[in-house]
């Protein structure tokens, strides 16, 4: 955290309210995001307990597994989840706009422009916390290799139809969430933490309830008090007032309420199984329904506060104007969505368990580029983010004191005007260091020439974007009195050198991956509880 961020936290401590860390919103928010609040069973991998899912804050869809160890009930849950999520995703797949992409022609090896489809908008998933993002990945992993009865009639325990598709999409979204600045899958805590500094540590900021308490504090109660209540406050029955945002549940809830309710459900089911025909069975069926309703009520009681909190978080963020470069990053997300849509449509197999060397290297390189791009764009969009870069000597604001026309000494002289500027910042400049400013949204570069010995002002030489004529085009050279932000970092990021094709993977990296054999589904043995 930069010193400016630390100061914001200290001010939050003093004032009892969260302080802004950004003046604009740095992440895209869809008009109609799909919020997913999942819960899992403690100690079990891939045994969901329930979820609230939906696009309307007033009408969440409640999905509950009354006995998480029962495979059929788990499959029913996943089928319901797929019914809730897949149509939402599909709703964005149809509406497209034409776009161009440069591809290498396999015959000539030249770059050619290809007309392709780009989805006009992309679906957005919001989960409460980082653990929720990880859970989306886990759900994706646990379902994408499942086989339906249609895929393989002999498969034991066939999965419901849309479940493997759900797994592929959740995997894609979970993977995309690792790209800095992407907004396809976001955690509410990350969204809030990017834009506000609370008076607590970043560890405590992972608690959605406490985090919101700091941001929404007011009316005579300090953020610290409200956050403490969110962390530890319990009702008369000993249950947390603000249940954890999941996917883990509160152990006290598990032990005192959930476990007895699940036991009752199990007993009711056994009793129903043992019942003979007739009236007795009807009565037992009623009992089973009551028991199931009770588990549903309990799980909903843990989910609902988090559901509301996520929507409040979205509401808070909508109050901030979007940064001007957010749309650019969202376009990349749309490309990502479109790309996966195409892979699914063309019948490609699910994502492999492990990426091969080239894919991994590509992913890492893409994330590094995205990180650098995000840092540059956020600073350009937001003076408060820029302030941290100015403090670090990576950017400076300067007033233009003088402009001296100058040209290159070539046959066709090009303009290279010299600017004398004054700044209060302390940029880390050396001779020849390039600096950049934003000119109509495009970067214009200049080289640092030196300091004026008398008064310490800076001399810069403008290098480009002044047109082809001998004299610079109108408006491309600053004039005396202009205040301009210069950055020492580039505004656009270029990717690194091209990686070899998979079939040319060097032996140091495992050699060519060979024929991509279809991934086998996870073995499911009757002995497994899960």
């Amino acid at each position: 955290m930069s010193l400016i961020g630390t100061l914001a936290r200290l001010e939050a401590v003093e004032s009892g309210r969260a302080q802004p860390l950004a003046t604009v919103r740095h992440r895209h928010l869809s008009d109609r995001p799909l919020v997913l609040v999942p819960l899992t069973t403690a100690g079990e991998a891939g045994a969901p307990l329930g979820a609230l899912v939906g696009t309307d804050p007033a009408e969440p869809r409640l999905l509950v597994v009354a006995q998480p160890r029962d495979r059929d009930l788990r499959f029913a849950f996943l089928a319901d989840l797929a019914e809730a999520v897949v149509p939402y995703l599909d709703g964005y797949a149809g509406e497209v706009e034409a776009a161009e992409r440069s591809e290498t022609d396999p015959e000539t090896g030249k770059k050619v422009k290809v007309e392709v489809e780009l989805c006009a908008d992309a679906p957005q998933l919001i989960v409460p916390s980082r653990a929720g993002v990880e859970y989306v990945r886990l759900l994706g992993r646990s379902t994408r290799f499942r086989r339906t009865a249609e895929d393989d009639p002999d498969t034991p325990y066939p999965a419901p139809a849309r479940v493997p598709l759900l797994g592929r999409w959740l995997t894609h979204y979970g993977e995309r969430a690792r790209v800095p600045g992407s907004s396809l899958l976001l955690a509410a805590t990350d969204l809030l933490n990017r834009h506000w500094a609370t008076g607590q540590s970043s560890l405590e900021d992972q608690h959605l309830g406490a985090l919101l308490a700091w941001i929404e504090a007011g009316d005579g109660e300090s953020g610290a008090e409200a956050a403490l209540r969110a962390e530890l406050g319990r009702d008369a029955a000993g249950q947390l007032l603000c249940p954890p945002a999941g996917p883990a549940t509160d152990p006290t809830f598990d032990n005192r309420l959930l476990a007895p309710a699940i036991d009752r459900y199990d007993r009711a089911r056994q009793a129903l199984g043992a019942a003979e025909e007739g009236e007795l069975a009807d009565a037992r069926l009623g009992e089973l329904h009551r028991a199931e309703r009770e588990v549903r009520r309990l799980v909903a009681s843990q989910l609902k506060p988090t559901w509301d909190a996520v929507w409040r978080c979205l509401e808070l963020l909508r109050g901030l104007p979007a940064g001007s470069r957010v749309a650019d990053r969202w376009t990349r997300d749309r490309w990502s969505f479109t790309g996966h849509r195409d892979r699914v449509r063309s019948g490609e197999p699910p994502q492999p368990r492990r990426d091969d060397a080239v894919t991994s290297a590509q992913k890492l390189a893409a994330r590094e580029t995205a990180q650098a791009q995000l840092e540059a764009q956020e600073a350009l969009d937001d003076p408060l983010v820029l302030a941290a870069r100015r403090l670090a000597g990576e950017a400076f604001t300067a007033e233009v004191l003088d402009v001296v026309p100058a040209w290159t000494e070539s046959k066709r002289p090009s303009p290279r005007p010299l600017l004398t500027v004054r700044t209060g910042d302390v940029p880390q400049l050396g001779e020849g260091v390039k600096v950049y400013r934003s000119l109509d949204g495009r970067p214009q570069s200049a080289a640092f020439v030196g300091y004026e010995p008398e008064d310490g002002t800076l001399v810069l030489r403008l290098l480009d974007r002044m047109g082809r004529a001998k004299n610079p085009a109108e408006g491309t050279v600053p004039v005396k009195g202009d205040r301009i932000v210069w950055t020492l970092f580039e505004h656009d990021q270029r990717g690194g050198p091209k990686l070899p094709d998979p079939e040319d993977t060097p032996w140091t990296h495992g050699g060519p991956p060979g024929e991509p054999g279809a991934e086998r589904p996870d073995p499911v043995t009757p002995e497994d509880l899960l």
Binding site: M1, S2, T23, V24, E204, P383, L384, D522
Partner: protein, 394 residues
């Protein structure tokens, strides 16, 4: 037992009161080693005070607990791994003829008896030259002057006299990788066992403790165990160093005023608060995940305005300023020496932050389109390059 040791025992028993001592386990030791400067935790753990109950008595109950689902799952998995005389477990170690594995009986009365029985079984197994599986042995480790008893899931003795700690956890290994945080915690815990085993090995001829442990977890989404060998040399040396550094309990106890007591039954909440406050703490946010008293200490730390409540790393950039008030006063130019680099940096940061926020409010509408933020009225233009600190903070 030597005289000073007995005196310390006596003193700690007095501090604890009549309650049964709360045993120290490996998890607590690993947590203790993570914050070796905390005298409060060292003393309370050393005296065997039930910190959870103490926190409740102080009015800051902790939210620790384990879900019975997780508990049941953990037990079921461990039982499965150890079933049939440890056949599955030995297979994970690469032993094909598990028929010849000895599983000695380790039951005995009391922790001292069990620890002695374990030491004896380890000696016998090392001499025997066959595979031996010790199921839940008990090891003694002296921590800052008081004994702690530790119970690893299992210890395997190899025919060549090597001892390997086995740690059985119920978090899954998915496609060959597991949650790094959980693996890290398991490794730290196992390192404490290795440390305790080394004390026994030092007294056993031909014995050597392996510095890598066997971590057994469920594979993917099944109940099948998957074993992975985890090198714990790093955790081992960290734990060893931290435990040696642990402020010695004698010194802490000696510094306490007479008549102080942590007797949960006999003392009022005020008396307990006073007693707890008499022992200095070293709160950091990491404590929240590792110590029952953390919420109490956090409250005190916040009252005192300590900057550590925001994270340990925050201290590093604030120089000698340790309280929220002092930092903010220095940043606003109300206090502090402008020649101090930390103060100068704070004032610059404060000036830049103010400028960005006030400027942003004024041009909120304009920001969206242009992406050009130069217009934000900079009040700091007058400062000549190089003499920032004083000039900017008007």
């Amino acid at each position: 037992m030597p005289g000073p040791r007995r005196e310390l025992r006596q003193r700690l028993a007095e501090l604890r009161g009549p309650a049964v001592p709360h045993p120290l386990d490996a998890r607590a030791l690993a947590a203790l080693a993570a914050n070796p400067g905390c005298r409060r935790r060292a003393l309370l753990d050393g005296a065997g005070v039930d910190k959870g109950a103490l926190a409740s008595a102080l009015g800051s109950p902790s939210s620790y607990g384990q879900s019975q689902f997780a508990f049941a799952r953990g037990h079921a998995f461990e039982a499965r791994v150890k079933a049939d005389g440890g056949m599955e477990l030995m297979r994970l170690l690469g032993v094909d003829e598990p028929g010849g594995v000895r599983v000695p009986e380790l039951a005995a009365a009391g922790p001292q008896g069990r620890a002695a029985r374990t030491a004896l079984a380890l000696r016998e197994a090392t001499g025997a030259g066959t595979w031996t599986l010790l199921d839940h042995p008990l090891l003694a480790l002296e921590v800052a002057g008081s004994p702690a008893y530790l119970e690893p899931d299992a210890v395997v003795v190899h025919p060549d006299g090597r001892w390997t700690v086995v740690e059985i956890k119920s978090f899954p290994v998915l496609d060959g990788s597991a949650d790094p945080a959980k693996v890290g915690a398991a490794a730290r815990q196992a390192a404490v066992y290795v440390l305790a085993l080394e004390r026994v090995a030092a007294l056993t001829e031909g014995a050597e403790v392996a510095h890598s442990v066997l971590l057994v977890c469920p594979r993917d989404f099944t109940n099948q165990p998957a074993g992975s060998v985890v090198d714990v040399r790093k955790q081992l040396s960290v734990t060893r160093r931290q435990l040696a550094r642990l402020t010695r309990i004698e010194d802490i106890a000696a510094a306490l005023p007479e008549g102080l007591s942590f007797d949960l039954e006999g003392c009022s909440a005020e008396q307990l608060t006073e007693a707890v406050e008499a022992v200095p703490h070293a709160y950091a946010p990491e404590c929240l995940a590792a110590c029952e008293l953390a919420f109490h200490c956090r409250g005190r730390s916040r009252e005192a305005g300590a900057v550590e409540t925001l994270g340990r790393s925050v201290r590093g950039e604030l120089g000698g300023l340790t309280t929220v008030g002092a930092v903010l006063a220095a940043a606003r130019g109300e206090a502090g020496d402008p020649a101090d680099p930390a103060v100068a940096a704070l004032r610059r940061a404060q000036a830049l932050r103010r400028e960005a926020i006030t400027g942003a409010v004024a041009i909120t509408g304009a920001v969206a389109g242009a992406g050009e933020v130069a217009g934000a009225g900079a009040g700091a233009g007058a400062g000549a390059v190089g003499t920032e600190g004083a000039a900017v903070c008007r």
